[in-house]
């Protein structure tokens, strides 16, 4: 399994009321391709409910879910010095997994997959959302799919055509990362989250967003905010 830890030190000034020395985010890229043996080993650290949910998917979806969830458990286990199978994960109403209160230790985690690339963010003393997406070829259809604000549509159209595919995909990963950090997902209208089109970093709807380096053909965004925004 490809497992590349990337340490992104967060500029502490953006986060309030947290001791800056405690604050960090670890991002890992995960290769979700796996042979049957790797898949079996990964599946062994999942809870019965996780295994059941994974099996509901087609074989590709099954493999991605298993590999991503196992990697999430491994990352959290590493932070908590626990066996991956022993990590207690809960799921919020909107389907967002989170480390259970007892073992949370100021930890937050989020993950995303696109094709065979998974990304995992584990934040200490901050709230995280992460999203990865394959860069889709530019299509004018994108403008009217209903998730870009008017200002973003205008900004995208003012870019040279060859830059729009990356910019539009990044708009999406920035929105999705913020929605996932917020914990609402698409229950909040993505239109209302206005991204700085063309910029890999910035502040979006109050969250700090940054590009995560990923292989060519994908774009990934990490969203960070203060831990206090975590719902009770």
């Amino acid at each position: 399994m490809l497992d590349v830890p990337l340490d992104l030190r967060v500029r502490p000034t953006r986060i309030r009321r947290v001791d800056p020395s405690e604050l960090s985010v670890a991002v890992r890229l995960v290769d979700l391709d796996a042979d049957p043996e790797q898949l079996r080993r990964a599946e062994s650290v999942l809870s019965p409910a996780e295994r059941a949910r994974a099996r509901r998917g087609t074989s590709t979806v099954h493999r991605r879910r298993v590999m991503l969830r196992a990697a999430l458990r491994a990352a959290l286990g590493n932070e908590l010095s626990q066996d991956p199978a022993a990590v207690q994960l809960g799921t919020s109403a909107s389907g967002r997994p989170f480390p259970m209160a007892a073992s949370r230790a100021l930890l937050d985690a989020n993950c995303s997959a696109s094709g065979d690339l998974g990304v995992i963010a584990v934040g200490r003393a901050c709230r995280v959302g992460i999203d990865v997406e394959g860069i889709a070829p530019w299509s004018a259809d994108t403008l009217v799919e209903g998730w870009l604000s008017a200002a973003e549509q205008a900004a995208l159209q003012s870019l040279p055509v060859e830059e729009r595919a990356l910019a539009a995909t990044r708009c999406w990963t920035q929105k999705e990362a913020v929605l996932k950090a917020r914990g609402t997902g698409l229950l909040d209208d993505p239109c209302t989250i206005v991204t700085p089109v063309g910029c890999p970093t910035g502040v979006v709807a109050g969250w700090t967003v940054e590009d995560v380096p990923v292989p060519r053909g994908w774009v990934a965004t990490l969203a960070l905010g203060p831990l206090k925004e975590m719902p009770a």
Partner: protein, 984 residues
């Protein structure tokens, strides 16, 4: 007709226009008066050879040879000008001129954040000569093509002129263009030498260019960064040795020798690489600058452009008139940027775009109040159509200057219609036809139209016709580009109308090219794909005003089926799939309709124009020219008519739903499989289990809207993300009411109405609606913002329609209305209308609805303008947004229809005068606002004495989009709670 001031006024005493001097010479030749503009133009096209010869002589360009033969042949496509004349472009621009101070400023290069550089005429000549010698030293020879990638700075100008001095054809571009775009241009150029400035260039661009341009022999870098690794020798510009040999006289080249390689923008496929000749370019530009714009040695000319737009090349030529030319390579960080530059440098002729003027108007910026424009005599506008009100704005906010709009193109490196220096400017119109060019509007038969919109053509030869295209050895592409549609004429691809006085107005692109969401789409690419579908006998792709997106256009595909073939569910899907795969997603039409036949003119040409008028419900302009006018009725019926004013609001149509849900489920499943790339699906499959993602969910909703005509919010879909759940959601939405009054949230009791925003949309209210704590149902109200002729409706007109829609849902009061900004104005007006009709309005909420200017006293208006301007400067990031707006090299498609639509909404809002309203009004005031807004609330209090103001978090940010507005999700809790308190 409103007139702006004549050109002669603004503070500078002008001698008679140069046009008068030249006209006197033509009158001698003609032996009669040519004082009338139409008489002058008519003579210039009837005696086209004499006209250009006289221009060559009068302008005293440095040339050698003989001008006896002015024109060989008389075909528009083939005629050749001045076969025996030789000249040098750089020499013509830089030669010492009588009456022009050689030590006076000739070129000023303005930068952001560092001092401007300035060259006198003598210095510039010496610098160009030195640079030419340096370029010759690195191996640039006459006839070698050179690619120059640089910002709009003096240094770029010097390199460009040096290349032309050597007779090396030049192609230019800006460093911020991507590698793909640059290669698309320069691959065709096959340059021998490339000069680049890497400031602002992406790291990967230069290696990609070096790899993709095998003809390169030498690379020269203008910047100070480390020299790049390259397979060809690389020099730093400043270190290129200058050979001692003094090249004193520049060699003169044949009239048609190549000067510039220019590129058409916007069409699909590789851009056309057009070659323009030395003599044609010079004569056209001298004519425009000196005769039409009266450019003189005492003028200072600044045109906001980039090196990738033809305006830049035309700016260079201004040097030939002795004027001082200003170039600027910095960003536009606010509406004041360019006006301050104009004032600082004493600019007399300022060139800009309608977008920038509109931006200043929208920002409430008044240049005349802020900077000294006493030297400015004319504003040139290019790149898009200048709207009527922009003439008023310039007269009011800039002052008594001539506002000169022109239109032409890269294809002719000049203008077909432009200014007249002596005549007043008719509001909203371009003054005259270009001298020497027989420009007209024609119908499908090639007959001239006066007072009607037609195809823009030029019916005689002109020197600035391209010499040819690159990679077009037999001239076939060149021929097909301009000369097929109307034999014997240059057909430009624009629609235009002329009045008898010779004035004109542009009306967008003509039939050939579709412009959907700012992308130009050549229908021939669509027809090429459709020819592979055996069921289709013939087809036509046309634009229609999109009833769902005011101000936008959508593509309608009309198909004629072969005998015996019926339109079924599969054929449209096959068409869409093949177009997507073999052309692009942009080529997929929004609507596909089978029709019995297509409109054909008497001479056998298909008329897109007639079909387009028919489906838009417009009067068909060329009915008499059609062989089969009867077919239009069937075409109009086959395409669902647009919802316009007075028309019945159309019920959301579900074509095959009927009483049985099975047909709908089948349709939904087909779309589902298409989006997910599956061949089959079970009605209860979970979207995410079969490979769906959030992103794909958005695409699925879009496909459902396109193919089934129903907008399903993704939130509804996520409740039950299965084909069955989706079919249920579609059925529910389809029966939820008219789509002009969508149910945003179900409930019991009297509804709450949210009036649509400046885009005619209600989705910006989603976060608020979701968080309202009330049992009452919530409706959006989407009254039309335009009428059938796309004329913008006023706030009272919109409100009248809104009241009618509201009454369909709730016939009697008391009513609860609210709206944000523009929507707030409509809500206010609707409330006054309802009250006047004897109804009670129990709740009227204005969400950050800044009072319109018409309602303010002049002092309030002024204060608000200044406050807004300061505010813009203080805010983070507007520069980027503005720059995106303004990037002028994108040509006529520059301002997207959405931008224009929003700008027009602002205009509608500003001209609204609210009447008195005696009921209670709750005003939700954005905390994050310019400081003056609090004071202007007195304007509201004057008409609505019972105004209660409550502060809510967020900014008033509907236009600039860099800071979250009051409707943003993170602030929605507070606003929703405040509203709920009143609504409960």
């Amino acid at each position: 007709m409103t007139l702006t001031a004549p050109a002669s006024d603004p503070g500078i005493t002008r001698r008679p226009a140069q046009l008068a001097e030249f006209r006197a010479r033509l009158e001698e030749l003609a032996g009669r008066s040519l004082a009338d503009v139409n008489a002058l133009h008519a003579w210039s096209v009837e005696h086209v050879a004499d006209f250009w010869r006289e221009l060559l002589r009068w302008s005293e360009l440095p040339w050698s040879g003989s001008d006896e033969v002015a024109m060989v042949g008389d075909g528009v496509e083939t005629a050749q000008f001045f076969p025996d004349v030789r000249l040098n472009y750089a020499e013509t621009l830089l030669q010492p001129l009588p009456g022009v101070d050689d030590d006076g400023p000739a070129l000023t290069s303005v930068h952001a954040g560092r001092p401007a550089e300035r060259w006198t005429r003598a210095e510039l000549r010496a610098e160009v000569r030195r640079t030419a010698a340096a370029l010759a030293g690195v191996g640039l020879r006459t006839g070698d093509r050179i690619a120059l990638i640089g910002p709009n700075s003096g240094r770029t100008v010097i390199v460009a002129l040096a290349a032309t001095a050597l007779g090396a054809p030049l192609a230019t571009a800006t460093p911020d263009m991507g590698a793909t775009a640059l290669l698309g241009r320069f691959e065709q150029v096959e340059p021998a030498v490339m000069v680049v400035d890497r400031a602002g260039m992406a790291d990967e661009t230069l290696p990609a260019l070096l790899a993709g341009l095998p003809t390169l022999r030498r690379l020269v870098v203008l910047d100070d960064q480390p020299l790049p690794a390259a397979s060809v020798p690389v020099d730093r510009f400043d270190e290129v040795p200058v050979p001692d040999a003094d090249v004193d006289a520049w060699e003169r080249y044949p009239f048609d020798a190549p000067l510039f390689v220019m590129f058409s923008s916007g069409t699909t496929g590789p851009p056309k690489a057009m070659v323009h000749g030395i003599g044609g370019t010079l004569l056209e530009h001298i004519k425009e600058h000196r005769l039409h714009n009266d450019m003189r040695p005492d003028d200072v000319y600044f045109h906001h452009t980039t090196t990738a737009w033809m305006v830049w090349n035309r700016c260079l030529s201004t040097l030939a008139s002795g004027a001082h030319v200003v170039f600027y390579d910095g960003p536009v960080s606010g509406p004041e940027s360019l006006w301050e530059l104009v004032a600082d440098h004493g600019v007399t002729v300022f060139g800009t775009s309608p977008a920038y003027l509109q931006l200043c108007d929208d920002a409430g910026y008044r240049p005349a109040d802020s900077v000294d424009l006493s030297r400015l005599r004319a504003v040139l506008s290019q790149g898009a159509v200048l709207e009527d009100w922009q003439y008023d704005w310039v007269a009011d906010a800039v002052g008594p200057v001539s506002l000169w709009s022109s239109s032409g193109g890269t294809d002719i490196l000049g203008a077909f219609v432009l200014s007249h220096p002596e005549l007043p400017v008719p509001r909203g119109r371009i003054q005259m036809r270009s001298l020497g060019m027989d420009v007209a509007a024609v119908d499908d038969e090639g007959n001239e139209l006066i007072g009607q919109v037609g195809e823009l053509v030029c019916r005689n030869p002109f020197p600035s016709r391209p010499v040819g295209f690159l990679r077009d050895p037999d001239g076939r592409r060149f021929h097909e580009a301009y000369f097929v549609q109307n034999p014997g004429m240059w057909t430009h691809g624009d629609r235009i109308d002329f009045e008898a006085d010779g004035s004109s107005r542009l009306h967008g692109r003509s039939d050939g090219v579709l412009n959907i969401d700012g992308l130009r789409i050549g229908p021939s690419e669509i027809y090429a794909v459709l020819r592979r579908i055996p069921e289709i006998a013939d087809s036509m792709a046309i634009e229609q005003r999109d009833p769902h997106r005011p101000g936008a256009l959508r593509m309608v595909l009309l198909v004629v089926l072969r005998a015996g073939v019926e339109m079924d569910d599969h054929l449209p899907r096959t068409i869409r799939r093949l177009l997507r795969q073999q052309a692009s997603a942009a080529h997929v039409p929004s609507v596909i309709a089978a029709v019995p036949e297509l409109p054909i003119t008497h001479n056998g040409k298909k008329s897109e124009r007639a079909a387009r008028d028919a489906i838009n419900g417009d009067p068909v302009g060329n009915l008499a020219a059609l062989r089969n006018p009867g077919c239009l009725t069937a075409i109009a019926a086959a395409v669902r008519p647009q919802r316009g004013v007075g028309a019945e609001p159309s019920r959301a149509a579900v074509p095959s739903v009927g009483a049985t849900g099975d047909a709908l489920l089948r349709d939904v499943t087909a779309v589902w499989c298409g989006v997910l790339g599956l061949s089959t699906a079970d009605p209860d499959d979970d979207f995410f289990d079969v490979g769906g993602t959030s992103r794909l969910a958005m695409s699925l909703m879009r496909r459902v809207a396109l193919e089934l005509g129903v907008d399903v919010p993704v939130q509804d879909f996520l409740q039950a993300p299965t084909p069955r759940g989706l079919a249920d959601a579609v059925a529910q939405r389809a029966s939820a009411g008219t789509d002009a009054v969508p149910l945003l949230r179900p409930g019991h009791g009297r509804p709450v109405f949210f009036l649509a925003d400046a885009w005619g949309q209600v989705n910006s209210y989603a976060a608020i609606v979701q968080r309202l704590r009330t049992e009452r149902p919530v409706h959006g109200v989407q009254a039309p913002l335009v009428d059938r002729d796309e004329r913008r409706l006023s706030i009272p007109e919109i409100a009248r329609h809104a009241v009618a829609l509201i009454r369909e849902v709730q016939p009697r009061g008391p009513y609860s209305l609210t709206g944000y900004s523009f929507g707030g104005l409509v809500a206010y007006e609707a409330a006054t209308v309802l009250t006047a009709a004897g109804e009670e309005v129990s709740y009227l909420g204005l969400i950050d609805t800044v009072p319109p200017e018409a309602a303010m006293t002049p002092g309030e208006v002024r204060a608000a303008w200044w406050a807004h301007r300061l505010y813009l400067l203080l805010r983070e990031g507007p520069g980027r947004t503005l720059l995106g707006w303004l990037r002028p090299h994108r040509g006529a498609d520059d301002v997207s229809s959405e931008d224009r639509f929003f700008a027009e909404s602002s205009r509608v809002a500003r001209s609204y005068r609210p009447g008195p309203f005696d009921g209670a009004v709750t005003y939700y005031l954005a905390e994050d606002r310019s400081p003056i807004v609090g004071n202007t609330l007195t304007a509201w209090r004057r008409v609505a004495p019972h105004l209660i103001v409550t502060e809510v978090p967020g900014s008033h940010s509907d236009d600039w989009g860099t800071r979250p507005g009051v409707l943003a999700t993170q602030f929605a809790d507070v606003l929703a709670a405040r509203m709920s308190a009143t609504l409960r």
